[in-house]
C-alpha cells in the first residue's frame, strides 16, 4: 500500500532537540515497530509522520510524494491513539463512519462499510451506544474500526494497548497481527514494551533519546545488537554486562551475555559465584548470582533447578554468544 520515507527528519521543541535527525524507509506492507524507553521520542516521530506536528527540518515522503507541507487530512493515514480519542458525543456507528463522512462517501456505502467493520471487530451489538458506555477493550476496537474503514495508505498506532489489562493486551496483540496479515497494509506501531515489539514486528526501530539506534528484524536485534543500548533494551531479562578485567580479556570495553546463554555447570566453569536469590517461573528459573569479578549476573536455569540462596555455583557463558562493545558502546564484530 505505501512506502514511507523519512529523510533527515529533525524535531526541536524550544531548546530541546527531540529528534536530532532520523532517516528511515518503511517498506510497503510491513509491520514496523518503534520501540524505546518512554520519553525517547517515539510518539513525536509517529506524529511527525501523521502530520500532527511540524518538522523542524527534513522531508517525509509517502509513496514518493513529498508530504512535508501536507496537512494530516491530506496524507491519507489512519491513526489509533493511546487514549482511543473516540468522539464522546457520537455513537459507535457515527464514530466509525466519521472518516467516511469526511471523505464524502455516499450514505449507503458508508452503512455497508461500517457494518462490515463492526462485524469484523465484534461490535455489531454496540453500534448504537456511546463510547462512554463501552469497556476499555471495546473502545479500543472502535478506535481500530474507525482506522480501518477508510483503507488508508498506512496505519499508525501509538501505544494502543497500554491502557488495557494484561490478558486483553495479549488478545488484542494477536488480533492486530491477524489484521495485518489479512490486510497486508503498512503499519507503524509505537510501544515502549520490547516484548510487544519482538512478538509483533517485521522490523523494529530502536530509539534512544531521539536517535535511531538500530533497525532490523527482531532476531537481528536479538542476535546482533549494534549498540550497548540495543543489547540492553532487547531481551528479557536484560543482558548481563561485564566490564573491567574480564572484558579486557575479550579485547572489549564491555562484554554482554544474555541470561539464557550462561550455563550452570558442575565442576569448574569460567566464573564462580554465590546465588543471591532465585525467581521460579515454572518453565525457567532465573538466578541472581554474585559472581566475583564478573559482578552481579542473572542466569537462566531450567524450571526444576534446585539451588538455594547462598549455594556456590559455577557458570559458563556460551563463547559464541558473547557480545563485545567498545568504549563508545558500539558493537565490535570480527569482520
Amino acid at each position: 500500500m505505501a512506502v514511507i520515507k523519512l529523510e533527515n527528519v529533525r524535531k526541536v521543541f524550544g531548546d530541546a532537540v527531540i529528534i536530532p535527525g532520523a532517516d528511515l524507509e518503511i517498506r510497503d506492507g510491513e509491520f514496523i515497530v518503534f520501540v524505546g524507553p518512554s520519553g525517547c521520542g517515539k510518539s513525536t516521530l509517529l506524529r511527525l509522520i501523521a502530520g500532527l506536528e511540524d518538522m523542524t527540518s527534513g522531508v517525509i515522503k509517502i509513496d514518493g510524494r513529498d508530504v512535508t507541507e501536507v496537512a494530516p487530512a491530506g496524507r491519507e493515514l489512519s491513526m489509533v491513539f493511546q487514549s482511543y480519542a473516540l468522539y464522546p458525543h457520537m455513537s459507535v456507528r457515527k464514530n466509525i463512519a466519521f472518516p467516511l463522512m469526511m471523505a464524502k462517501m455516499p450514505e449507503d456505502q458508508i452503512k455497508a462499510k461500517v457494518e462490515g467493520a463492526a462485524a469484523k471487530l465484534n461490535l455489531t451489538q454496540y453500534l448504537d451506544r456511546k463510547p462512554g458506555q463501552l469497556s476499555g477493550g471495546q473502545r479500543q476496537r472502535v478506535a481500530i474500526g474507525r482506522a480501518i474503514v477508510r483503507q488508508p495508505k498506512a496505519f499508525l498506532f501509538d501505544e494502543p494497548l497500554s491502557n488495557l489489562d494484561a490478558a486483553l493486551r495479549v488478545n488484542m496483540r494477536v488480533e492486530i497481527m491477524q489484521m495485518h496479515q489479512d490486510m497486508k497494509a503498512t503499519m507503524v506501531y509505537v510501544t515502549h514494551d520490547q516484548v510487544e515489539a519482538m512478538t509483533m514486528a517485521d522490523r523494529i526501530v530502536v530509539l534512544d533519546r531521539g536517535n535511531i539506534q538500530q533497525v532490523g528484524s527482531p532476531l537481528d536485534l536479538y542476535n546482533k545488537p549494534d549498540t550497548l543500548f540495543v543489547a540492553g533494551f532487547i531481551g528479557s531479562p536484560k543482558m548481563n554486562f561485564i566490564t573491567g578485567a574480564i572484558a579486557e580479556k575479550h579485547k572489549a570495553a564491555t562484554i554482554g551475555v544474555r541470561p539464557e546463554h550462561i550455563d550452570v555447570v558442575s565442576g569448574k566453569g569460567e566464573w564462580q559465584g554465590k546465588i543471591l536469590l532465585t525467581e521460579h517461573l515454572g518453565s525457567d528459573s532465573f538466578l541472581h548470582v554474585e559472581a566475583g569479578d564478573a559482578g552481579r549476573l542473572v542466569v537462566r536455569a531450567p524450571g526444576e533447578f534446585s539451588g538455594k540462596p547462598n549455594d556456590k555455583i559455577s557458570l559458563k557463558p556460551d563463547p559464541a554468544r558473547i557480545h563485545k562493545f567498545d568504549a563508545q558502546g558500539l558493537a565490535i564484530r570480527s569482520k
Binding site: 521543541f13 502530520g51 500532527l52 506536528e53 511540524d54 496537512a71 494530516p72
Partner: protein, 288 residues
Amino acid sequence: MATKQALVLGKWALLPSVAVLAAWSFVPLALTIYFAFLRYNLQDPENTGWAGFSNFYYFFKDPYFWKDLLNTILLVAGTIVTTVVGGVLLALLLDQKFWGRGIVRLLVIAPFFIMPTVSALVWKNLIMHPVFGLFAGIQRFFGSHQPIDWFGKFPLFSVGMVVSWQWLPYAALILLTALQSLDEEQKDAAAMDGTSTLNYFRYILLPHLARPITVVILIETIFLLNIFAEIKVTSVGGFAGNLTYLVFSQLNDATDVGMAAAGGLIAVVLANIVSAFLVRMVGKNLEA
C-alpha cells in the same frame, strides 16, 4: 501541540478579542487622563483649557473626597471580613451531612443572584425601615419604643449589611467548592489519626483554604471598590458615598468633567494596586 496551520489561524482568531479589549481598556483610560487635566464643565462651555493639576488639587481639598475614601476602605474591609469569616463557617456547615442539604444550599446562594438595586431597596424599606421594617418590628417585640433608623443613623453600616448579604453566598460557595476538593481520604486519615477538631481546622482545613480565601478577598475587593447602585438607590450618597459614587456625583450633579475624571483616575490607581495581587495569584495557578 498544534501545527503551523493551526497556530497561524489561532493567532488571527485571537486578534479581534484582543483588539476590542485593548480599545476598551486603554481608550477610556487615556481619555480620562486627558480630561483630568482639562477645565471642562458641561454647564459652562465657555470655560475651557488646560487645568494643570488643579482638578486633582481641588479633589484632594474636597472634604468629601477624604470621607468617601475612608468610606470606600471601610466598606470594602468590613464586607470582606464579614463575608470571609461568615463564608468559612457557612462552608464548613454546608459541607456536613444533614437533611435537605441541597435545598439549604439553594436558600443560602439566592441573595447572590439578586440585582443590587433590588436588594438595596428591599433592605432599606422592608427590612431596615425605622417604622415598618422587620428589624423595627423585632425591636418592638422586645419592648423598644424607639426602633433604630438604620439607613438614617448608620448609613455606611447599613449599606455594608446589604452588600455583605449579597456577597456572603459568593464566599461560602467558593469555599465550599474548595472544601469539597479536599479529598475524602485525607479527611478519613485525619480522623483515623485521632486529630482533634481544632487541630484538624488549624493544620488541615485552614492551609487548604488559604488560597481560595485569598482569591475571594481579591475578587470581592475588585467588585466592592465599585459598589454604586446600593448607594445610589438608597439615597445615602451624601453620607455613605464611596469614591465611585463621588465620581458619579461630580459628573452628574456638579457636571464637572475634569474633576470627575481626576476622581476616576484615583479609583483606577486604587483598583490597580489590588488587581496586581490578583493577577499574580491567578497567574501562579495558570502555570501549575
